[in-house]
């Protein structure tokens, strides 16, 4: 295995373009190193992007945020303002792994690992986060929901890598939340995850995005679930409709972490609970 530490994204792209065999980018390494140790993926070329200037910065971008690709979960949690504006996103990132893992894991790594159960991804999808992708053919901006294509697979072309994460402006009267179900209190992979992001006008929900994790081959953005609560004040009927729409969108598998039936049911339960939290946050921000 070759190990490189390029000092610019251009160099990283050049390395990746010329690389023979399996190439991986190393940010926090919390998936790459596990796969290496377990002989799941042994890269021929490993490109550590942490020595590129600016990758560990969280900076204002208009009213929104630009999060560097090597910013860790711990750094996001410790940031003064990010978590006040996007508590759901920061909490979702914070749920990943232990304190130790938080010291290393990144949003970008969580996204590019391609797991349908990645905790930060539904939160990013609900928040409308986009990423910059650079490759041999230049740079493009992609919505987070368009990155994963199947378990372990992404839409990134060979030689392409994510260079920044863009979090939109929070704006007025908005709130987000992410909840996941795990059997223990910590250290598990999500059996079901749900992100909700909404905006109020008075008491009425005027915008909403609802996302689900671990219930399909990729993280889902569920329009029907959002439509179930848009125009409502999140009354019981709206919550029931939300849960029904969330469950209906599920296309999960039976595996060691949960059953189809369980995941489908709990998706609805979490959607309700997350929506209530997002609603309260939006009210508090009004």
């Amino acid at each position: 295995m070759q190990y490189h530490t390029p000092s610019s994204f251009d160099d990283a792209v050049a390395l990746a373009k010329d690389a023979q065999g399996v190439t991986r980018f190393l940010a926090g390494g919390t998936d790459v190193l596990v796969q290496l140790r377990a002989d799941i993926v042994t890269p021929d070329v490993l490109i550590d992007i942490k020595k590129i200037a600016g990758v560990s910065d969280i900076t204002r971008e208009g009213e929104g945020w630009r999060i560097g690709v090597a910013v860790t979960g711990a750094e996001m949690s410790e940031h003064d303002t990010l978590g006040k504006e996007w508590p759901g996103l920061v909490e979702a990132m914070d749920l990943i792994g232990s304190t130790q893992v938080q010291g290393r894991a990144t949003l970008t790594g969580n996204l590019c690992n391609g797991s349908p159960a990645a905790d930060s991804v539904p939160a990013m999808v609900a928040a409308g986060v986009t990423v910059s992708v650079t490759g041999p053919n230049g740079e493009r901006k992609v919505a987070v929901e368009d990155i994963p294509t199947a378990p372990g697979k992404t839409s990134l072309e060979a030689g392409e890598l994510v260079t920044a994460v863009h979090v939109p402006a929070r704006g007025k009267s908005g709130g987000d939340a992410y909840l996941r179900f795990i059997p223990r209190t910590e250290m598990d992979i999500a059996v079901v995850g749900c992100g909700v992001n909404l905006r109020l006008d008075g008491k009425k929900i005027v915008e909403a995005r609802v996302s689900l994790g671990a219930v399909a081959p990729t993280v889902l953005l569920v329009e029907e679930a959002a439509n179930a609560i848009i125009g409502t004040e999140l009354d019981d009927a709206a919550l029931d409709a939300l849960a029904e729409a969330a469950s209906a969108a599920c296309n999960p598998i039976d595996d060691k972490r949960g059953t189809i039936k369980f995941r489908t049911h709990v998706a609805g339960v979490l959607a309700k609970r997350a929506a209530k939290i997002a609603y309260q946050r939006a009210e508090a921000a009004s």
Partner: protein, 750 residues
Amino acid sequence: MAFDDTKTEDFKVVGQRVKRPDGVDKVTGKAKFGADAVAPGMLFAAIVRSPHAHARIVKIDTSKAEALSGVKGIVTRADFATGLTGGDLDVLENVMAGEKALYDGHAVAAVAATSQLIARDAAKLVEVEYEVLPHVTDVDKAMAADAPVIREGAADQSVPEGMHANVVRYHESGHGDIEAGFAEADLVVEDSFKTEATHQGYIEPHACLAQLGGDNKGELWCCTQGHWNVQKLCAAMLGLETSQLRVTASEIGGGFGGKTAVFIEPVALALSRKTSRPVKLVMSRSEVFRATGPTASTSMDIKIGMKKDGTITAGQGTFRLQGGAFPGAPMEFTAMCAFAPYNLQNVKQVGYDVMANRPKQAAYRAPGSPMAAFAVESVIDELCKKLGLDPIEVRLKNASKQGTKASFGPTWDRIGLVETLEAAQSHPHYSAPLKEGQGRGISCGFWFNHGGETSVTLALSEDGTAQLSVGTPDIGGSRASMAQMAAEELGIPYENIRTTIADTATLGYNEVSHGSRVTYASGLATIKAARAAVKILCARAAAKWGIDEDAVVWENGCAKPSGPNAGEFDPLPIDKLTRSMGRTGGPIVGHFEATPEGAGVSFATHIVDAEVDKETGQTKVVRYTVVQDAGKAINPAYVEGQFQGGAAQGIGWALNEEYIYGEDGRLQNSVFLDYRIPVASDLPMIDTVIVEVPNPGHPYGVRGVGETSICPPLAAIANAVSNAAGVRLKELPMSPPRILAALEDQANNG
């Protein structure tokens, strides 16, 4: 005091919460565990393992691996002794597959190379041709007529005619007339239960460093619960004379029964012999889960009859235990422990030892007993609920006590079950109010405890301090309790004793640290060895004073005349006697070798409150209290630690831990991410009550405490969850999908 006295009071050191002698080494990182040893010229090893649950090994081609630079040697089954039979053959077969791979992860070859990475790479280059065979991993399916046969002719004569070849042992015991008993009952409840296999989950993977020369003299360093057992088994598997292999036990990073067996040690020795270099072999976590010794999985049927007043009229249990591809599932313990807490006139228990394509089970804390308690105590709880009776009152009414007949036959000696029940009943936890969504459960549990072959030496130094050598690896602080007992007898400060876990060349045979035997048996041996040394000290003083040996007593670390008639002499402190010992008869050493047979049994009662989220099926344990009979707590802090550790492991077993095999017979969850042991945020504080009903078989009344603590939790939590959720859970683990499914079934079927 006489040398065979029982001491029950006026303890000076025993009963104190002294600091453990190995504490500093363990908090500074200096303590040397299995993987921490090195040797000059050392090679690193890796094992090639079967990816199939059941397959004939057609061919092993090592040529590509051997061609890799840095590879120094490869071994297969051909490099081990031939002609073994019985248990030794089973162990070898498990350590290195012969004609067939019998489970996913079964070792088929091993490589030694100059680095860990090269060894791992080389292992991937070993080409094994398999003929895949049909497999079975579930206990009930393994007994069914159409199940593939795992090994022909493995059954012993106990198995009744007509059983499937995978049923290899049978047990039946009991007394009275169960049908008459059930007829007497006002209510009979009958139900079936299942538990999945769990793993001891020690944090330290198995590790060893082996050196074996062409002269067949060997040195082995390994983490084990019993190095004499390792010595004996490795010698057999490599065709060595037992005494020519010296085994040193490293610090051990948890065992709980799982390190009573050998897995990698013979392999490292074989590689060392082949390469003429020291070989280090360390398992990965995934190898630990796939290829060491988890518990048996079970399928159980229980039937219990009760009168309206709570009297149990009869109990019947059938226990089917799957213990991997070898005989040995502890079904007889399951059977014998099942009804042990109760005084029953009519009882019958039947056990089946069933083979399946899984790794050979190993002991795990009271092997077989927790599952039995889960099934039996669940049914008793159901009876109490239906008859409107208090679960502790019912258990008290039927409790085993001194003079009653045990469910497995004999009459009980002094036991402490009633005391634990009474202490639980009067504990504030039992009467504390519950919140909405919470339920309370209680359960009793029982374990036999064990004595076993034991050898201890206590050598006095010239300054009056003592070196205590014991042969039972210290898995939970036993060096402290041994030193406490020695200090108590010698009348010197605890700090003046240094306890060492001696290697196999230094002491006589010591049985494994299992069966909760260490504080009991090594403790008893320590006391007797100290008394032997004291006897010599007294004789030296008598000689000096010119009086009879019997006229000298030992008090507070000094020899004294036994009374005015013995003469008037100033007390002689220990250091005065030891300083001159070279000139008064030679070194003073006390020793003791025996197989103590008085290990007192131990009972416990646990109380637990659980909260169930009925929308997601998630359970949270919100309060937990352990009440257990310790006989006499030598170091209460470490007794509490055993209580708490057993409870925590039981919580994991009850709620989340399980072996998950796929349709392909491969283990799906061989990492801690998916084999879910409790993490710190899962648990509440675990309250403890130490009951002390002295064991007549120990000089201070000690009963083993390590194992009984895992017997009640499965049932106690099942009872709490069932009360909280309003539905009876009959299968472990009580994972969220199972709880939701049970709630749904209940809603659909009323």
